[in-house]
């Protein structure tokens, strides 16, 4: 059958977030785009197994994630879990605060174990529920929750933030943030 227009739309519509997810997984735009392309090919090849009316983005994310995982197992050339030198490299950067902070954040993210990183991204950025994320990752909801928690904790450690005063972007933000706390 020719490609259903709604399928085409749904797949293309998911591409931007698939790319964002893929980049966060593999840390490389070109490779991420290859992952997305492979995901589309697989999705179309298996479109019969997709149940119309169910969550197409979640289905596509699952394909992408599984493909990444199996590919990753083959060629482990990922940057992962390199703890030590990282914290040192962060001290004393002479750029503007927000910018540095953002760059540091991205860097810190690459130091998370990949299962924690993907959980955090799915829930915190892609906007999936814990249940959806659990389906995508093929694990229990509780596992996703604890991965997300550990990811946040680890990020805060890596970024040496344990309180509002450590952020220091600007007074206003700080005041706003502090207002919600306590």
């Amino acid at each position: 059958m020719p490609m259903d227009e709604s399928v085409r739309k749904a797949i293309l519509g998911a591409v931007p977030s698939l790319r964002a997810f893929a980049i966060s997984l593999c840390g490389n735009v070109d490779r991420a785009d290859d992952l997305v392309q492979e995901t589309m090919l697989r999705a179309l090849a298996n479109i019969d197994s997709f149940q119309p009316g169910t969550n197409m983005p979640a289905w596509l994310f699952t394909i992408l994630r599984n493909h990444f995982r199996s590919e990753y197992r083959k060629r482990r050339r990922e940057v992962e879990d390199t703890d030590g030198h990282y914290a040192d490299s962060l001290k004393s950067q002479p750029e503007q605060h927000g910018q540095v902070e953002f760059r540091e954040f991205k860097e810190a993210l690459t130091h998370l174990p990949s299962d924690q990183r993907e959980a955090l991204i799915l829930v915190g950025a892609s906007g999936f529920s814990y249940e959806e994320a659990a389906n995508i990752c093929g694990c229990a909801v509780g596992t996703i929750k604890s991965r997300v928690n550990r990811a946040r904790t680890r990020l805060a450690e890596l970024l040496s933030i344990d309180g509002v005063n450590d952020f220091g972007p600007d007074e206003q933000t700080r005041a706003v943030l502090a207002g919600g706390g306590e």
Partner: protein, 62 residues
């Protein structure tokens, strides 16, 4: 994996529990990073890929 030596009992200055402000901040940065990519939209290669596949009809590819 738990780390017993951190005695995560009363969780005072424990890194185990993050304040909501910290979480909010991390979430903000996470989304900013993610949305940077999302806002790039759909690169041409992907629309072209679908066109090509469509023209090929319904084969089992791969």
């Amino acid at each position: 994996m738990e780390t017993p030596e951190t005695t995560n009992k009363k969780g005072d200055a424990k890194p185990g529990k993050l304040g909501r402000d910290v979480q909010a901040r991390l979430g903000q940065q996470l989304r900013a990073m993610y949305d940077d990519v999302v806002n790039q939209g759909v690169p041409d290669r992907f629309a072209e890929l679908l066109n090509r596949l469509e023209n090929n009809g319904n084969k089992d590819k791969h």
